[in-house]
Symmetry: D3
Subunit: 332 residues, 6 copies
């Protein structure tokens, strides 16, 4: 049962389900008896619940932020907010629940999209770049992480598979531009586009929610992507030094401006193309995600976006093409 479905139940109705603990506090009745106040969530929303009368001998300290718990209880409201009283709560075992209940996943089919990516890699003719790409994408361990990584925590592509989806979005734009501008080194551009965000596999940790790692906050994916690429290149014999420099420059400068965290501004045709293609794909997706979250299926104005610094107007319909039909597993 999703959070958004709880709201549809009448007051007093019984319910049960799996939720993740966002916040937990042991509080006390006036009598001094302890009780539990929890903020619980899944990917569809958040609510507060009270475990009003735990058994006398219950150890309330075992519940920690981030745990998935199974609860049952009945629907109540306090001050207009859903605030059920629980009759039961226990920490769930990993196998019991579907992790997809807690973190959203790209609307695009991951396997198909990965196949598309491998075909693009196959189209790269420069043997050093192709070998470099293969050293990443034929490494099962890396691929497993890559396919699960989001492209962001809140701003854009903030879901499992988001990095893959965003990578392909950027590659598509780069292909379009390189068809028109023949002076561009297409293989270099496409390689840079595919690798530009690989550091995000270490920048984000994806469990029941998306978090930025300490390493991610202190170093950032621009640097981490470059370091990963530099170590891979070190294993490829005779990889041309100037090719390495140009490729790392594309990655290092792909945020385009100093104030967006690029230590270098783009200074080559390929770097400038990548930087704008990245900005375009992430901004459009960021707009779309924000509209969907804020307006649902409604129309009109969202509130002001915290990063884009504008409210967004939308009077159309959120659509995902043929992939739209993909269903969420119903037995969560």
């Amino acid at each position: 049962m999703f959070v958004r479905d709880l709201y549809k139940l009448p007051v007093g109705a019984p319910f049960s389900g799996y939720f993740v603990i966002e916040h937990v506090e042991i509080k006390r009745h006036r009598t001094g008896e302890p009780f539990l106040r929890l903020v619980l969530s899944d990917k569809t929303g958040t609510f507060t619940a009270l475990w009003w009368k735990p058994p006398k001998d219950a150890d309330l300290s075992i519940f920690r932020k981030g745990d998935v718990v199974f609860i049952s209880g009945s629907i109540e409201y306090f001050n207009g907010q859903l605030q059920p009283k629980l009759s039961e709560i226990r920490v769930a075992s990993p196998g019991e629940y579907n992790p997809q209940k807690f973190i959203c996943e790209t609307k695009f089919p991951i396997e198909e999209q990965f196949t598309v990516l491998l075909e693009i890699i196959d189209s790269v003719e420069n043997p050093y770049l192709k070998r470099l790409l293969e050293s990443f994408f034929y490494d099962d361990k890396f691929v497993e992480k890559f396919l699960k990584t989001p492209a962001g925590k809140t701003i854009h592509h903030a879901c499992i598979g988001g990095l893959l989806e965003h990578t392909l979005g950027v590659v598509e734009i780069c292909e379009t531009v390189s068809r028109r501008y023949k002076s561009i080194d297409r293989d270099l551009l496409i390689t840079a586009a595919i690798l530009h965000d690989v550091g995000k596999v270490h920048e984000y940790s994806v469990g029941i929610s998306i978090d930025r790692t300490t390493e991610g906050i202190l170093l950032g994916h621009l640097y981490m992507s470059c370091e990963m690429v530099a170590f891979k290149i070190a294993e490829i014999p005779d990889f041309p030094k100037s090719l390495k420099t140009k490729l790392l420059h594309c990655i290092l400068s792909h945020h385009g401006e100093y104030e967006h965290g690029s230590p270098k501004k783009p200074k080559t045709l390929e770097a400038v193309t990548l930087a704008y293609a990245d900005a375009l794909d992430s901004r459009v997706k960021g707009f779309e995600e924000f509209v969907e979250r804020e307006l649902g299926s409604g129309k009109g104005w969202t509130k002001r976006h915290f990063a884009f610094e504008v409210p967004i107007f939308f009077d159309g319909e959120i659509k995902y093409g043929e992939e739209d039909g993909k269903e969420e597993s119903s037995n969560l």
Copy 2:
């Protein structure tokens, strides 16, 4: 004879040709006799020439900045700079010379590209938008101006046909993005992409060189494009007011940021897509043009670009695809 070819002639060699006056001064010999000092150019370069001994009764004041003149003389150098002495100079009649000698032209074939544009217009399904587009592009007088207009004076697409070329570049990227993001109103986006710079037909005057008009400097093409579109819409019965608002918003916000001269930041999916697509196409082209101008067929670093604020590194080859073969008329 192009300026760049004059440099290949030996000192003392005779030459003749058509050039435009960039600067003219009547100066005096120590004897008090007047002579003429001219800065002349065509699209391949600039040089200084002296008309050292004009006939006694010559009216030197008839030569004005912007005139095309026919000159003959012989090659001389002063202080390492080409500085021929002229034996003859006269103002040329319009029919005598090929205007293309003075202002560069898009490398893409204008007619073919215009056909592509008409096909895109034909693909627009929204009847109001299609009619709006037709009111521009089936108006011969507008089209004649549009096809001649550059997209800029110095930064990008600064040549005859540049506006058409840039418009198609932006449309291509928008098509790519709208195929991926189905929530975008594709007809609105494509219409905005086609019309976003139409005000440039009044912002630039294209004669023998490209200049910005007083109107262009005081009002800018963002406003002028919107005014043009607003007047055309006023003639289309029942054009929906909200559609007009959304379309004008795309045009008005397409520079993306206040500091780039947009009075509004993009606040719709279509506006944000257009703004980034415009930035991407003009920046890549601007890089390419600068590399070509600064490095010719060489490799390495350009000087710092005055607007992009970086030097550009290029070690590839400037290429224009199949259209590359298009020849400059040889009988200039």
Copy 3:
């Protein structure tokens, strides 16, 4: 009865009056019975009220944000906040209440001020500019809207008649400056000053509160003022093109800087004068309004102003000259 007067009543006292609904929620008692929680306001303040025991068959969904309601009940406090319990609530009919109870009005007498404006228009000697001004200010429909429009939603002149008041404030400063600087085209400057914000009649919707329209947020009054002027000019035979350009430039650039939403910076004597006069009048008024709202009749520091980014210090007295005596209608 104004909100600020409710606070003066003792707990338990009965009261009644007209208020506008800022927020409304249907909530439920623990028993499942619905009740109504409302946030109500007039121009003097805001409070929460509960309709604790509506009749069984009452349709609670008829109350909507923006409705004016008549309520009666008795004064109660919850957690130190006024929170009366209502015994009656019904939607009021338009004729029942005085709309001025809900939105503040300029302290200056509107009719007198409008007469001053007409006299200034009469003093314009340039026939094209005079005719242009008359086409706006002898159009009853436009004038009716103009006189009701505020100059802002929160920052300055945020009240009925605020646009007129601000327009005259700017005109006064422009007159002072044009008397000293004879090189200024006084007629052009005064015309621009009068028309610079006319687009605000479409940017703001004034009902029971001031709101920005979708058109206003997407296009802004700079553009909308220009478009309105351009259409009016199109109807005046032989209006000089360069005069139109200079006038539109003044309007388009009157926010002075790109980051304040002007697509062009002022480039003429008249434009630069208008931009600074506009900034001066709106900033002073903004300071005064903020001081009045924050300090009432007190002295000392306001909190930090959200837009000016400073707190304001005031140890004087808010005064409005002779117009100060103007009374609020007492039969609200």
Copy 4:
């Protein structure tokens, strides 16, 4: 004879006059003989002159930047630039020439304007502020300096009397605003307006040209004005401390923004009014001066202004009202 008149003489014509040395270099003929190359100017322009054949025993080192010299010679041109050859040059004695030939003077009559200022001081009712103003403007030594000081070196009011002229311009605007906004403490505002730039008497040194002093560059007139006012206040018994604080705040914040060199942003009604009035008067005057210098009596576009960062368009006529008739002394 003014520099601008030299240009009207025929080649070879004799001339003589007083000019100031902007730059001087002792150079050598190929024979090793020394000669003098000078850049000379008065307030109407600049030219280069050669003292080609000084007497054998001449001490060329006595000529220094800033000296006024008397020269005679004949008109010659080199490379289109005026470059007369001198037959005589000697350092002029102070009494010989009219200093007004070298530095421009306000077009407004200084004595009349000063009388206006004294009348305004007389209208101040607050006894402490009046006494403070009198301590400055009834001090003959200060007044003598004040009347000679410019308001700037290059940007606005860069002429003798410019500080007086600018001060009155700012006062006029402040009077206009304080008539409308009665909450303003008019006496405080007018006092601040009169004193806001007094530190400029130490920031600029006015001799034959305007220079910024070392003290001026290291401390600036904002600080120096405040220090001067603070020392004067220290001599007035019982001057209220809070009045001092509010007055100094107006002066210290009158550049409005940190990036314009104000250590504090305006935080009172009077301070914000002064800051915008100062900006308005100096910007309009700066535009006018630039137009006059760049276009003379012509029309059209100036080059880009180095500080305002725009070119300026002007198609009117530079005028100074009745004072316009004031003549420059013809026997310079």
Copy 5:
């Protein structure tokens, strides 16, 4: 008893102690009876308390923000927050409580540190600068204030003695730099370092909490420090004017950038050294204080710092060297 210790008591336990009133409200029971809601604090934290049943004849209006009160009552919680009910409350007399309970004090021993400062003053060889320093630091009244003043309200050294501690921190860095860079005028630099923040004795008022004065907010310590130094210099015969200018420049420019409130950027070796030394010492201390406040003895990430605009990572241990052992008085 400190606030942080109250949390360790069981529900229902009695307690008593001295606390400062941060906020006070007279509220009413449903019956109309008044009661008192207080927010109380000391330097270790904040809590809410209710005086639920004051005596009938109690004058509740005598309790004001800023008063220190003695309270007794018993521990209760409301909604998880400490909210004791009081049985007694009275305003405390100044002698009753230790003021150090309410405002933190530098961890360094003030007297020892002041001795160090006097030794540094003694090491200054320039007689004018030495005399200037002595005019401040041998003035008992000034010294008493100086030793109590914090260097900031929230960002760095926000405690009694903080100004002394910060001054020495800056002096130490300046000494290190002046040993390496011999071109620096060491006496000037050290004098400027010692005096750079003296205006803070008027910018902050230190009672039971630290507040900025109206004078401090309107003028700032940069200006106030300069004015204080200027008046002291005026009393020293023959103090060289250029030395005064250079010293005031160091003080006036020590925030380094316009946007940090310096009206001048550093333009001498001494000024630039001081500005960076000040930035270094205050930033490091600001980081340390924030880490200590946010993490206590924990490790990991703080929340985002409101001024530095980053979260801070710390996995070490907060230490204060030998001075670390200094105990807080236990009989508070």
Copy 6:
């Protein structure tokens, strides 16, 4: 013979010496005969020379930018500039001249300073950090490069040994700060200080002049330092991952702000200390170098510094302590 000494010779005097070619052009006499125009320099200045009459069969194309040439000729001036005519010119062999003639060298004795650095490394107690430092500074090849590398091309420490000098300057400040702030991890800070700029060994190429490499411009020393450190760490068994992250963060963030090219802002005590210490040392040195270059042994104002955006005032004496006595080799 240094360039600055050429100016002391009389016109016509013969001279000879070694200089580096900054610019070379083959030009032609009116007769068509080629001649050579060269811009030559050493570390004391720049001048233009003409090889007016090369032998008929001379191959002028062998002279290239960057070559050191031996020339002889006689002193001439043209237009006030030194412009000798050459009688002889030939490319010099590497052994012939002292390279120190062309690029300045730190005033501090390199060997002594390097010994100091090794002692500091020895004082590091953390075994991983010590081993890391040793892996750099006990690698002879690296050390050789390191000791020759400047810390900049123009802004600060732009001389051989400048990197060593700057590194020690930063370390000294960090030691001072870490003695006061015990919470700082001193070993981490000192290690970061020593390694923060090691990437400059690849960013600058030092031959006869200092140049930035293509790799340096495209990637920058922040990234390159990190990559170098990351590869060295990879060879140290069990180097703690969190220590690596914190160290790389210090290096990556040491420019302090995005706009100075740091992809991350400092987020730890050590990183923030390093960033400010680096800024302090480089700014002071940059001021000193600029004063010395612009004023020589004079006093007063320099011109505006292109990067610091201020002119600098200096009325003291440039001094280098005991090391000052170090002589430039006299047999250059």
